[in-house]
């Protein structure tokens, strides 16, 4: 095996949104959507990011493309610091990094044909002439399993699965190195979901793509990822190789999350950890460990000190005081 090359390195990423209020609309607080998240993505791998709604996984994904401007931290992509790029240079950089969204209908212009949607990124980046772009569009449609006549149709004429294929074709058009996919299959039915997952895996092999795959469905993430990171309330609580994470979760949150997933096997007899309460508001996150309000193993130190994100062997990272001894 050749040495693994790091394609993307995110360090201490923070994204805070101001809360305005009072008579003068002054800033009265901050929503800490992403609070000090670090991870790396190796070339050709799929990094899965899981977490519940509001944990900051989407904001993290969008920050990589600077669709959300990070408040602090560094994002290095192929030895280039993205946070320092000018708007124009960042726009050029998005040829290398593309995004696939959850709701393909919302991300396609209803008045433009699917073909036009796929050609648009080629025009934006000035690739090819008119004829070449049309040929490329047809080629891309066949790559994602659609026919060339589909290019003449409008988004509403497609099913959800087909729209997601168009979204993927569009992301592929500029031959990116990295694709950030934000919940790409969660709006799809089971039988269609597996078609799209298989397609994404085939394309990864075919075009040597690297994926950051953001989802809330733990089974889907296990299927597609090489490594998985678990987020909770703006922070990364655990990150490890896929099988290591699912078979030997270290963090109590990961353990509870995995035990809570309904498994399609009526004979399965599992120990279930049911967490009480809701996720606290990111506008007012708890002191110390953000999970301490729901953690079954909470200790005094958890309420005071935020645990650091340490390597507990074999590149298995976790942030929990139980492990720090």
């Amino acid at each position: 095996m050749t040495a693994v090359e790091t394609l993307l390195e995110v360090k201490h990423l923070k994204k805070y949104y101001p809360i305005h209020g009072g008579v003068f609309g002054r800033k009265i607080g901050e929503v800490k959507a992403v609070d000090d998240v670090s991870f790396t993505v190796r070339k050709g791998e799929t990094l899965g990011i899981v977490g519940e709604s509001g944990c900051g996984k989407s904001t993290t994904g969008r920050s990589i493309l600077r669709l959300e401007e990070p408040t602090a931290g560094s994002i290095r992509f192929a030895d280039e610091e993205l946070t320092n790029l000018s708007g124009e240079n960042m726009r050029r950089m998005r040829r290398e990094i593309q995004m696939v969204f959850q709701d393909p209908f919302a991300s396609l212009n209803p008045r433009r044909t699917a073909g036009a949607a796929i050609i648009e990124p080629l025009e934006v980046h000035g690739l090819g002439n008119r004829q070449e772009r049309r040929d490329k569009m047809k080629e891309l449609l066949s790559v994602v399993g659609l026919d060339s006549y589909h290019g003449e149709r409008y988004p509403h004429q497609f099913s959800g699965g087909q729209r997601q294929r168009i979204g993927i074709a569009r992301a592929l058009a500029v031959q990116p190195k990295l694709i950030v996919a934000d919940e790409p299959v969660s709006a799809l039915d089971v039988s269609i979901q597996s078609q799209v997952l298989n397609l994404m895996e085939d394309l990864q092999d075919q075009f040597n793509l690297t994926y950051v795959f953001i989802a809330h469905d733990l089974s889907v993430v296990r299927h597609i990822s090489d490594r998985v990171g678990v987020m909770y309330l703006g922070g990364m609580v655990e990150l490890a190789d896929r099988d290591e994470l699912y078979d030997h979760p270290l963090h109590p949150y990961t353990q509870a999350l995995l035990s809570a997933v309904p498994v399609p096997d009526p004979t399965a007899n599992r120990e279930r950890i049911i967490l009480s309460g809701d996720v606290p508001s990111p506008a007012d996150p708890p002191q110390g460990c953000t999970f301490h309000t729901r953690c079954p193993h909470v200790m005094d130190v958890c309420r005071e000190v935020r645990p650091s994100f340490n390597n507990y062997g074999g590149n298995h990272f976790a942030a929990c005081h139980l492990l720090e001894k």
Binding site: S191, R222, A260, P262, V263, I274, V279
Partner: protein
């Protein structure tokens, strides 16, 4: 002896639109016994939600029209009810909870006033007593602070809203609770809380639950019997263990194989080719035939009946289980085989 609570027979709900007739539910049989949890599974557009809305009398007619069949709830045919009579049934004998509680709670009224309205609709009690009962119903679902009665739905989290919906549905102690994708909009840890709550209500109060979902994991954990729908028809029915260990219909089998597993990883997922058929142009013969890997010539030609598999209550709508002649159902009181 278990008594049948809900019995849907040969029920057809069609929608007459400008562009043609949509046969959303096209001849289904389904029953729920007292105290039973039955799963109704299928993908978008298979007719599972129209089925549940029909039981609640919530399908607008027109465009909807009951073409045939009956829905018996505790011996009463719901398809013949008048508007006035529906009010007696809805919320009282059968209640429903929906996927997105925010859209089914009224944003401009407090939780308390909406619950009190529901109670006073069905019970002759004063406001004070109704408020007291509302508070009790909320405690049943694990909300112990009474102040929630004076809060508005937007002040609650998704899990809390769903709890309020369940409390509201249970307030008149219906015999049947229809839950249409009750946890689909919720996070995994909150889903576990809500499923736990529903299981407890079933066990403690004996409320029968018709659980409509696309999530086979939820079905496996909650239900004792499962009905699988495809393109407006029931394609398979079995008890939960049989369905997961020995699915007979190629659609059910394909669906089970296409779910990624949490505890083991396969290199490649199975996927059912193609898409669900257009409800305005159903294929002739078996509706699953265009996507089926076992398709034979008869499938394209004639619609299969529900065949009985072995002696149990396992039925499957597929020609693989025999020809019409040899497998006509003789022992069951239900006329399962139709042509």
């Amino acid at each position: 002896m278990t008594k049948t609570l809900l019995e849907i027979k040969e029920f057809k709900m069609h929608f007459h639109t400008d562009k043609g007739v949509v046969k959303a539910v096209d001849g289904i049989d389904l029953s729920v016994n007292e105290g039973e949890v039955v799963g109704l599974v299928g993908e978008s557009g298979c007719g599972k939600s129209v089925t549940s809305l029909s039981v609640m009398g919530l399908v607008p007619t027109p465009p909807g029209k009951v073409e045939a069949g009956s829905i018996q709830l505790a011996g009463r045919d719901l398809t013949r009810l008048k508007r006035r009579e529906w009010r007696q049934v809805r919320g009282n004998e059968v209640a429903m909870i929906f996927q997105e509680p925010m859209t089914s709670l009224n944003p401009v009224f407090t939780v308390g006033s909406q619950m009190i309205e529901a109670i006073r609709q069905h019970r002759q009690v004063g406001k004070k007593e109704a408020r007291h009962r509302a508070g009790e119903a909320l405690r049943e679902v694990g909300i112990s602070r009474d102040s929630i009665l004076d809060e508005y739905p937007h002040q609650l989290s998704g899990g809390m809203r769903q709890r309020v919906m369940i409390a509201m549905a249970m307030v008149c102690e219906p015999k049947l609770l229809i839950a249409d994708e009750p946890t689909t909009a919720l996070d995994v840890t909150i889903q576990a809380q809500i499923l736990d709550l529903m299981r407890r209500l079933n066990q403690e109060k004996g409320t029968a639950i018709l659980m409509i979902t696309h999530d086979l994991g939820v079905v496996a954990e909650m239900c004792s019997r499962v009905v699988v729908m495809y393109a407006g028809q029931v394609v398979e029915e079995a008890d939960v263990n049989t369905l997961f260990s020995n699915p007979k219909h190629p659609y059910t089998a394909g669906l089970l194989r296409s779910i990624p597993q949490l505890d083991k990883r396969s290199d490649r997922l199975y996927s059912i080719p193609g898409n669900v058929p257009n409800p305005r142009q159903m294929p002739t013969g078996c509706r699953f035939a265009p996507r089926c890997e076992h398709v034979q010539s008869i499938c394209l030609d004639r619609e299969p009946p529900l065949f009985h598999i072995t002696t149990g209550d396992h039925t499957s709508r597929c020609w693989l289980h025999g020809t019409e002649k040899e497998d006509v159902d003789r022992d069951s009181s239900r006329d399962v085989v139709r042509s």
